[in-house]
């Protein structure tokens, strides 16, 4: 439950809206109860006095209910939007190295499913609970004016219905809620897997198997939901019985003492009815707590390389230097580099060659501060990277990685990621350099052409060239191109390098490749092997 408190802290900024919702809801409830009690008063013969009151209360009740719904829902959506954005920021801090084994489907389930599971927190848990707690003393005082003992009995029953039973429901649903969240995530992963790999599924005739897998996961979800639904139903039944017991106590009092209690009966009836959703809300809170746990876990993965507490000043120069760098991704794996030293002067054009798995991409990750060396130093313009904030480093180095993602957006939006606000001539220049402008000119929508999921509307080679254009568009003085021509045919590759020779004048170019085409204009060529860089030529 404490975990829900942490979600609430995230909503500090929306406190005004959340409180406004509570105040309107309270006014609406008070008017509703007043209406019921007043309609009971007619039996006391107060009709002359009461009739205009009744109509006034009636109009107020209808209007307040409408306003209450609008304000509380608006407040909830605002709080939810905040939560989504906060979650994305957290993910961006911790997920810089890619999602890795935390599967995208699972992350999505957390993001959408779990964040949505939290929407009931305000509207269906906090709001009714606050109302009930304000209502309780009022109810005890009103009934207590006639009969203290009766008011105490009803007070205890009310407390049971609004606090004790919901609390029990929340406790017992915590485990069930965790199961439910896990089952929902598992179903989503299975469906995402089957649909992402639908070519494989069809090619291997695995439709039936995949369907059975999804159905099996769905059964798991239904079982978890059923357990939750059962508990909720019984908790609600308990609260209903409390209300009935309270009415029975009132009737018994009426039976014994013949005191006129009709307004009180109607008031009690309405009060219990107003809070009848709370046991359900308790069960929901258990579920929401499980969801909150997952949301917080996902968003609070620490960044791969923490930023320095007191960042050093950004150097003007951009010479990149690796000095005796030792690095391994995991302590139990063999080191990728054991004493790597490499100098890349400002404006130099350098190629790093070597077979796959030798650490060429790791070198780029180290330069981008996606990882930090265990020993040795990396300096940019003579300043140790460890003393510089990651964002500042990344603004100086543009990196075309092998896993560069094309977003499901227009070509323009994909390019602008590298340089927001770039004008059309700049975009076309980058596309020319990447040897893709000609194709895009023939498309009816030009720069507005939709790229599709992961670049699906273009072939692999075309997608690679779009990513390349994006990297070239960046104004960072250092450019790291990791296998820029993977998937391109030899002719296009030669053309690209001929253009590249002019396109990046004045900038540092680090070309990572397994081989050279022969037309690249390079200052130095290094060969990576056994964790060291060896000058090969130049």
């Amino acid at each position: 439950m404490i975990i829900l408190g942490r979600i609430l802290l995230l909503w500090r900024a929306r406190l005004g809206w959340l409180l406004a919702g509570l105040i309107v809801a309270l006014a609406s409830l008070a008017v509703g109860l007043g209406l019921m009690a007043a309609s009971g008063l007619v039996f006391a013969g107060g009709v002359v006095l009461v009739a205009p009151w009744l109509s006034g209360l009636g109009v107020a009740r209808v209007a307040l209910r409408y306003v209450e719904r609008l304000v509380t829902h608006g407040a909830m959506f605002r709080a939810l939007a905040d939560l989504r954005v906060w979650f994305f920021r957290g993910l961006a801090r911790g997920g810089a190295g890619g999602l890795g084994l935390r599967q995208a489907g699972d992350v999505l389930a957390r993001l959408v499913g779990d964040v949505e599971a939290l929407d009931g927190l305000y509207l269906r848990v906090l709001l009714p609970l606050a109302l009930a707690l304000i209502l309780l003393p009022a109810l005890v005082v009103v009934i207590g004016a006639g009969n203290i003992l009766l008011s105490l009995i009803i007070g205890v029953l009310f407390l049971t219905a609004v606090v004790i039973l919901p609390w029990c429901a929340a406790r017992s649903c915590l485990a069930a809620g965790r199961n439910l969240a896990a089952a929902a995530g598992a179903l989503r992963i299975a469906a995402l897997d089957a649909l992402t790999g639908r070519r494989e599924v069809r090619a291997f005739g695995a439709e039936g198997r995949m369907l059975a897998l999804v159905q099996g996961r769905e059964e798991g979800l239904l079982t978890a939901q059923r357990a939750l639904a059962r508990r909720t139903a019984w908790a609600s039944a308990g609260a209903f019985l409390c209300a009935q017991a309270a009415l029975l106590a009132l009737l018994l009092a009426a039976h014994l003492s013949a005191v006129i209690v009709i307004p009180v009966v109607l008031l009690t009836l309405a009060a219990f009815e107003a809070v009848s959703g709370l046991p359900r809300a308790g069960a929901l809170a258990g579920h929401a707590a499980a969801a909150a746990q997952r949301v917080l876990e996902a968003a609070e993965v620490p960044p791969p390389v923490p930023d320095p507490a007191q960042p050093g000043t950004m150097p003007k120069g951009f010479a990149l230097r690796f000095a005796s760098v030792q690095f391994s991704w995991q302590a139990d794996r063999l080191p990728v580099f054991s004493g790597l030293s490499l100098d890349v002067a400002e404006g130099a054009r350098v190629a790093l060659l070597g077979p796959s798995g030798v650490g060429k991409s790791t070198l780029a990750a180290l330069a981008m501060k996606l990882a930090a060396p265990q020993l040795g130093h990396i300096t940019l313009g003579g300043v140790d990277l460890a003393t510089l904030p990651a964002d500042a480093v990344r603004s100086r180095i543009a990196w075309l990685s092998q896993a560069t993602h094309l977003f499901d957006a227009s070509i323009r939006d994909n390019l602008l990621l590298a340089r927001p606000g770039a004008d059309d001539p700049a975009l076309w220049a980058a596309l020319e350099a990447a040897r893709i402008a000609e194709l895009i000119r023939t498309l009816p929508d030009g720069l507005e052409t939709w790229v599709g999921e992961g670049g699906a509307r273009f072939s692999g080679g075309q997608g690679r060239r779009l990513a390349l254009a994006r990297a070239l568009l960046s104004q960072a003085p250092v450019l790291i191109l990791d296998e820029p021509c993977a998937g391109l045919d030899a002719e296009t590759e030669r053309e690209f390098f001929l253009t590249l020779n002019d396109a990046v004048s004045g900038r540092t170019l680090i070309l990572i490749a397994h081989r050279l085409s022969g037309v690249e204009r390079l200052d130095r060529i290094f060969r990576l092997s056994a964790g060291h860089a060896v000058a090969a030529a130049g």
Binding site: V42, A81, R202, Q215, Q225, L241, L251, V259, R394, A409
Partner: protein, 538 residues
């Protein structure tokens, strides 16, 4: 109909509630009567009915869950089956995130249709009619008031519902787009971070969420009006009846018991209508979800089942006879009257630049596309006549970038033929030369791979695909540039395994011109969907 038990339990609950109202009226009437102390039985009756009503409510909850589960199970299986059997091309323009929204979230939302809307729409008529019948017997005038108030409810709902239907659809689209956007950005989070664009994307996400809120609130502003119609009707009924009874009291002509009963019955009269109004939201969501489901590709018409005569031992021959294929009229023909013949056990290397039509040939043979003109035959049988299952039994496929499913490496190999023995898996892994890298993995073949094959290099993932093909041991092998994304060392390694895979099978292999010589076999150069006349058939 699955909703029937819910309706029956609901009606029973309403009848019991009326009984309770009668008991309460009797007790209070007796208490108010001068000097009279009534009998005890109405008190006992009230308590007994309360317990029965509680049980009926629990039973109704259980029945509602069962109805919802049955409906969701059926629809999800249908939707999933349709997506898995659809041609991959038919879904090319749809983001997987959007499909997931449909298969998971939209169908979850349909729970409300089965569990709440369908029963509520019956109860909304049956419940009030039951109450009316009893009230008419006690106080005919009051029954008329209730009829008038009850009639106003559906009228108001219709007026509110017309606007809400359109708004619900637009809200659904906003929701689907938002979710697709989340998945896309989460997948590309490394690219976003590398470009230092995390903050910009977070802000953009915030405004997308804001837009969703705005759209949702527009739906709710209208939808809440139908709730207000109900409030107006109920408040009016209470006020009119209270004023009427108050006047009678003043005139000294009020029968307190019947009057109290009617006032208590008012809330029972409106309870099913309120449940109906709440469920109206469910119906709106259901309509939007149903539209999305209807937009899924239809099951292709089942071709007449005709198994290919041969069995795998006898091999497979493939003939393309004047085949044409157009994916997109704007981009021209992908295949333009292509003809070739591959006898059983031979290898055909399709060479040519990207866009020459190599992939289209493979798409047809995989059953993902149908020729617009011409005939493709396998062992003399037209491919259009083959059931997909028998086609996929004949073929194995290795693409450019295999999709690895969430699970172990072993699971991923087993995907090709789930009934394979441990021995066969070990043999396939060996044949694909997987033991070299498997030995370095923490758990060997039992190592978990994430979505997209994280943890495996491109070459390693490609070996899993080759192992799949070995395990499947199909007579027709389709290869789509299997070494396109690999460095020369890895490529040479993989080629060795591939050549062994090719032996003794009918093979059609698409390759860039530069890599075509790596494979022995007949070479066919393609250009613009035709045999390249300059090079011709070698």
């Amino acid at each position: 109909m699955a909703a029937r038990p819910v309706v029956l339990w609901g009606l029973l609950g309403a009848a019991l509630a009326l009984g309770q109202a009668g008991c309460m009226a009797l007790v209070l009437d007796a208490a108010l009567a001068p000097g009279g102390i009534g009998s005890l039985w109405p008190l006992g009756g009230f308590a007994a009915l309360a317990v029965m009503r509680t049980l009926a409510a629990v039973a109704a909850d259980h029945a509602a869950f069962a109805a919802g589960a049955t409906g969701r199970r059926r629809l999800r299986s249908e939707a999933m089956a349709r997506l898995l059997h659809a041609a991959p091309q038919a879904l090319r323009d749809v983001h997987t995130g959007e499909l997931i929204t449909i298969v998971i979230d939209r169908i979850e939302a349909l729970d409300g249709l089965f569990a709440r809307w369908l029963p509520a729409s019956v109860l909304a008529v049956a419940g009030p009619v039951l109450v009316l019948a009893v009230v008419a017997w006690v106080d005919p005038v009051a029954a008329l008031v209730l009829v008038a108030a009850g009639c106003a409810v559906p009228l108001g709902m219709v007026v509110a519902g017309i606007g809400a239907g359109a708004a619900a659809r637009s809200q659904f689209h906003a929701m689907a787009r938002l979710q697709a956007r989340f998945l896309d950005r989460v997948r590309g989070i490394a690219t976003i971070v590398a470009h230092g664009a995390a903050e910009r994307e977070a802000v953009a996400l915030g405004s997308a969420a804001d837009e969703l809120r705005w759209r949702t609130m527009r739906v709710l502003r209208v939808a809440f009006l139908s709730g207000s119609c109900l409030d107006v009707a109920m408040v009016a009924a209470i006020v009119i009846l209270a004023v009427r009874y108050g006047a009678a009291w003043s005139a000294g002509a009020l029968a307190v018991g019947p009057a109290l009963f009617v006032l208590l019955a008012v809330s029972e009269f409106f309870a099913p209508l309120r449940a109906f109004a709440l469920a109206y939201q469910d119906r709106l969501h259901a309509t939007a979800a149903a539209d999305a489901l209807a937009s899924l590709p239809e099951d292709p018409p089942a071709p007449p089942a005709r198994e290919v005569r041969s069995v795998s031992a006898q091999g497979v021959s493939v003939v393309f006879d004047n085949v044409s294929l157009t994916w997109d009229a704007a981009r021209g023909k992908a295949l333009d009257g292509l003809s070739f013949r591959v006898p059983s056990g031979e290898t055909l290397v399709l060479a040519g630049p990207s866009g020459a039509g190599k992939s289209s040939v493979l798409e047809i043979l995989l059953g993902f596309a149908r020729p617009d003109a011409g005939r493709v035959t396998i062992n003399g049988a037209d491919i259009a006549d083959l059931v997909p299952a028998s086609l996929s039994r004949l073929t194995a496929w290795v693409g450019q970038r295999p999709v690895l499913f969430a699970g172990t490496i072993r699971d991923n190999i087993l995907f090709a033929r789930p009934e394979a023995s441990d021995d066969e898996i070990a043999r396939a892994a060996r044949a694909a030369r997987m033991e070299e890298f498997a030995a370095d993995l923490p758990l060997g073949l039992e190592t978990l791979v994430g979505e997209g094959g994280y943890g495996l290099s491109g070459g390693q993932a490609q070996r899993v695909a080759v192992a799949r093909a070995f395990l499947k041991d199909a007579p027709l092998l389709l290869l789509d540039e299997p070494t396109a994304h690999l460095d020369p060392a890895t490529e040479a390694d993989l080629l060795d395994s591939l050549r062994r895979l090719l032996a003794g099978r009918t093979v059609i292999l698409a390759s860039h011109a530069a890599a075509a010589h790596l494979f022995s076999g007949r070479r066919l150069d393609l250009r613009n969907g035709r045999t390249d006349v300059e090079r011709g058939v070698a």
